[in-house]
Amino acid sequence: MAFQEKPMGFFTDTSICIGCKACEVACKEWNQLEGNPAHFTADSFDNTGQLDAQNWRHVQFIEQIPDNNGVVMTPTPIAGGQAWLMMSDVCKHCKNASCMEVCPTNALMRTEYDTVYIQNDVCNGCRNCISACPYGVIGFNEEKGIAQKCTLCYDRLQGGLQPACAKACPTESIKFGYVDDLHKVADDRLANLQKQGYAKAQLYGRDEQVYGGLNAFFLLMDKPEVYKLPSEANATLPTRNNLPGYVGGVATAVVGLIAGLLAFRSGRMNANNNTTTTPR
């Protein structure tokens, strides 16, 4: 059965992510992404590295193992998902999307499910969206010469199927659904965690403070910056610099033109030099 045409997205509950990377594999399988050659990242169990044109899901491994006076302690379940953080990162499908703001070709569009989608046949590979995305989600596909990122499995949605990553997630850390419904699930989960004493637990992108709200939002067990997510204060749209940028340019141009005119109209080098003036 097809989905209704209303906002759909992910609620990724990082407190129950086990870092199995099933989401990464399912994503690559469905979207026929070859992936990048494996290499040693020296970053915990992460050999994916980052989101890019070949990785539309990326499981972050963040080690925060308590250091007890130099003696590294073995993390225990008591740490409650706070010593070894894992998060399956993905395009946030922002309500106010930085990438859409700057795209000069309208290759980036919003679908009937309120998700952000790159039209492959319209994109000409200018990479402006890459410079704008605050999450480093979009990558440049060298082979195709275009920008690529998670489509929230747009093709599957049209067939009434949930995205591959959510389908494959064994712990239901990645929950898919209508955003309104996901908000309720997230609120309940957060309340539950806070009741258990996880003071740092927080929702990211649930509300409008971050890019007008994220259709793919998260439950985090620490500050957003720990997960390489900009905090509310740093979650700024690129177009904030449009007006000041142009004002700075215009002001400088005016000063420059006046300075130039003054220089060119100034007295001639030699007083005895006869000058002629063009008729106006």
Binding site: V102, N124, V137, K228, A233, N241, G248, F264
Partner: protein, 297 residues
């Protein structure tokens, strides 16, 4: 103040974009200088003005080529202007790249027409003498004034394009980059015009002297904008990104700034005449290189 944090990936705008920023700046700046020389109302400046308009168009030629080559899909360059989804025009004022694409097209028309007029005036191509006649007098001044607006926009928007992002350095210096690129373009163009003027005997010596004077004003303006750029980065806590290995490029920038001033003080009297303008141009290139590359590494 809260230090800016960036988690954005670099767009890998590199050598082609550097080339475009440089030549685009020189083209826009040269056109503005040509217009200023015409507005000065001195017939002896006319030769230098023609050189400026010719330089502007020649410098503009590589710009669309570099931009197209830099695209992942060069054959789809026209998607910058035509919205293939709707069949209408792809004009998006909030996107500096979209505005810049249109401005480049419009400025190209102004620059080309002024170029045709200038080459007819110098006798290289008399077939366009009609254009040269049409550009004389008030009509020509109006034409070049409007062209200057677009030319200076080309200089400025490249900085705004970088600022309208979420990249470190670029977005942190939001309102300084556009102005800095304008000032640098004017200084570089004045240096290039001086270089060309000195290679020709028909350019009035006094015009060259006043060009030097204008160049010094532009250099002072550029220095102020560079200082503002550095202060904004310091406030954002990202100034470290443009230091370190980039000191080499800063040295070139400083040399480029000092060269025109050194001429005035007499310290560089023994230099070959082309030395100061060449150093100034190198400084323009270095400034753009360090802004482009430092943020992406």
């Amino acid at each position: 103040m809260l230090a800016a944090e960036h988690f954005a990936s670099p767009p890998h705008w590199e050598w082609w974009i550097l080339g475009y920023f440089f030549f685009g700046g020189i083209s826009g700046g040269s056109y503005a200088l040509g217009t200023l020389l015409r507005f000065s109302g001195n017939a002896r400046d006319e030769t230098a003005a023609r050189i400026a308009f010719i330089t502007s168009f020649i410098a503009l030629i590589p710009c669309p080529i570099f931009l197209t080559i830099d695209l992942g899909q060069p054959l789809l360059f026209w998607h910058m202007l035509v919205d293939t989804s709707t069949g209408g025009l792809a004009f998006r004022p909030e996107s500096p790249m979209s505005l810049g694409s249109w401005a480049l097209l419009v400025f190209g028309i102004f620059s080309f027409v002024s170029f045709l007029g200038a080459i007819a005036e110098v006798g290289w191509f008399r077939a366009t003498g009609g254009i040269a006649r049409a550009l004389r007098g008030t009509a020509g001044l109006v034409w070049s004034a409007i062209g200057t607006v677009f030319g200076l926009f080309i200089c400025a928007y490249t900085g705004v394009l970088l600022a309208v992002s979420n990249q470190t350095v670029w977005s942190d210096a939001g309102w300084a980059l556009g102005g800095m690129f304008v000032a640098s373009a004017l200084a570089g163009s004045a240096a290039l015009l001086l270089l060309l003027a000195r290679s020709r005997r028909d350019v009035d010596a006094d015009t060259a002297v006043r060009l030097e004077s204008a160049d010094r004003y532009f250099v002072i303006l550029e220095t102020i904008l560079i200082a503002i750029f550095l202060v904004t980065l310091a406030i954002a806590g990202t100034i470290g990104k443009v230091l370190g290995v980039w000191i080499v490029l800063w040295l070139l920038v400083i040399l480029g700034l000092l060269a025109p001033l050194a001429l005035r003080s007499g310290a560089a009297r023994r230099w070959p005449p082309v030395a100061a303008p060449l150093l100034a141009l190198l400084g323009v290139l270095a400034l753009r290189a360090l802004v482009i590359f430092s943020a992406q590494t």
